[in-house]
């Protein structure tokens, strides 16, 4: 929902620096309406949780119980260690995916024959849910951090690779013709057209990679781990600590919102000059 509203906004043109006067409410309308809605829902949820017995603590939880569980696992429990573990796995895995995805994507986008050879494998792996490989990855790497790093890598790698390759390949014909007319060499075309032209595509890959990488780290930790936020959720479920489970879930949701909005911001920043067609 958030993506659509932000992407639909027209690019701000330099010719129109005079911004029409708008009230504080108009400027922050989306945040105010959205924030109010969240507050109301949480308040109703809390009221139902405190004053009725419609919610069984075994099957669901309430805001105050989640907050309490959050506080106790923060002060007395392993929350910080779990967060650090998951964060480390995600960062290393995603970093590796970013570097290798962009490098390989550029090669595949630029060399037609390499692309033809690799395309069937890449398409199969891009389309398949990589998370299904988790049991195999645990056999390879054990239940320590490296199986999680690897699943994050595997998850995020393909969207970044495929989008980067598409960006290199979708070079503007008119620009190519112009560069050729000015005697551009292949290397100059690569440097001045292919690479900068693919930046918005790479960032789209990064945004998709962040989303699936997050799924990777959480599910990876659920399936075989003794640490991490994913483990926290799975453990909470298995031991009927529904409050703890919810703490994990809320943290994952927030991490998702945070990382995706950073990626979106980057994407928008670099697509400022993207041709609008």
């Amino acid at each position: 929902m958030k993506t659509e509203t932000t992407l639909a906004q027209p690019h701000i043109k330099a010719e129109t620096p005079v911004r029409p006067r708008e009230s504080l409410y108009q400027r922050y309308e989306a945040s105010i309406l959205g924030g109010t809605a969240v507050l109301i829902i949480v308040a109703i949820w809390q009221a139902v949780w405190s004053y009725t017995d419609w919610i069984s603590p075994l099957f669901f939880s309430g805001p105050s119980a989640i907050a309490k569980a959050f506080w106790s696992s923060l002060t007395g429990g392993n929350l910080l260690a779990d967060l650090a573990f998951s964060g480390k796995n995600f960062t290393i895995g995603f970093g590796l995916a970013l570097v290798s995805g962009v490098v390989l994507g550029v090669i595949i986008g630029w060399y037609r024959r390499i692309r033809m050879v690799l395309d069937p494998f890449l398409n199969a792996l891009y389309a398949a849910p990589r998370i299904a490989m988790m049991p195999l990855i645990i056999i390879w790497f054990g239940i320590g951090m490296w199986s999680k790093v690897f699943i994050v890598f595997l998850s995020a790698f393909f969207p970044i690779l495929v989008n980067t390759a598409a960006g290199i390949r979708n070079m503007d014909r008119d620009l190519l013709r112009a560069a050729r007319a000015f005697c551009a060499s292949d290397w100059q075309i690569f440097k001045t057209l292919a690479i900068p032209g693919s930046v918005p595509f790479i960032l789209t890959g990064v945004r998709q990679g962040v989303a699936v990488g997050l799924i990777g780290v959480v599910v990876g930790e659920m399936l075989g781990s003794s640490e991490g936020i994913g483990f926290m959720v799975a453990y909470g479920g298995q031991t009927f600590q529904t409050d703890t489970l919810f703490v994990g879930f809320v943290i994952i949701a927030f991490a998702g919102i945070l990382l995706t909005s950073v990626a979106e911001r980057l994407e928008r920043r670099f697509s400022r000059w993207r041709p609008e067609r």
Partner: protein, 264 residues
């Protein structure tokens, strides 16, 4: 002195699907003098864009000769620059960066010279103050000015223009024509200007090549008898309209001939 010579140029395209050759240009010959503004006008499908691409070195040719200063051309060269129909600006580069782009690729000027030329040609096309803007922030007419500045900054011997104003609205188009003449007077380049608008060709050029369609042949080459500098009001004068009319008739004959060919 002949700057550009096109000598018995013939271009065939192979239509693989229909397994036959199509003649795009048949035995085209004309030459452009140093500093001359030559317009090439013809109905769509007369191969004028093919010809420009050949002269630009973007399209190979097998039969005939294209000579600049007496030397046969093979591929693109620093002696030519093209102003394209679509502005073809790099959207991630500022206006200044785009004007530099041609020079950067050709590696003929050092940094200081590039900077100086960038500023000079941005000023010449009237875009001072827009150096740091991005192409998407400019109107179509302004983008074509950048396109022109980029080509001029590369200091070509022959400037090739491929219907550069075709995508602009009628008013902007008129102003750009007048502007182009001013710039051309200052830049003193040999220009080959392709258009399908007869009055644009007559207004701008010293001489006009009229081409016939399918295959493209030179139907007529004539000198435009009007003195320079020319005002836009020239276009409303009877002698201008008369000349325009006679060229129209030439091209009309062509369309009729084509119509009959199509009927058979």
């Amino acid at each position: 002195m002949m700057k550009l010579q096109i000598d018995h140029l013939t271009k065939r395209y192979c239509l693989q699907r229909e397994n036959r050759d199509v003649l795009a240009l048949a035995d085209v010959s004309f030459s452009v003098e140093d500093g001359e503004f030559m317009a090439i006008v013809g109905p769509s499908g007369c191969g004028k864009t093919s010809m420009l691409n050949i002269v630009a070195g973007l399209l190979p040719y097998e039969e005939g000769n294209v000579l600049i200063d007496g030397k046969r051309i093979f591929g693109p060269g620093i002696d030519r620059a093209v102003v394209f129909q679509h502005a073809s600006l790099l959207p991630w580069r500022t206006i200044a960066g785009n004007v530099r782009y041609g020079m950067e690729l050709q590696k003929r000027f050092d940094q200081a010279a590039m900077k100086e030329r960038t500023d000079y040609f941005i000023k010449l096309v009237g875009l001072t103050g827009f150096e740091r803007h991005y192409p998407s922030e400019l109107s179509g007419g302004m983008q074509q000015r950048v396109n022109l500045a980029r080509a001029l900054a590369a200091d070509p011997v022959v400037l090739l223009m491929d219907e550069p104003f075709a995508a602009l609205d009628a008013q902007t188009r008129e102003f750009m024509q007048a502007e182009l003449l001013k710039i051309w007077t200052k830049a003193k380049k040999t220009v080959v200007f392709i258009t399908h608008q007869i009055n644009e060709a007559i207004y701008l050029a010293d001489r006009v090549v009229v081409m016939s369609a399918r295959p493209g042949r030179v139907k007529d080459v004539f000198r435009v008898p009007f003195d320079r500098p020319r005002n836009l009001s020239l276009k409303r004068e009877p002698r201008f309209l008369e000349l325009e009319d006679s060229v129209w008739k030439l091209i009309e004959e062509e369309s009729e001939r084509l119509g009959m060919v199509a009927a058979v």
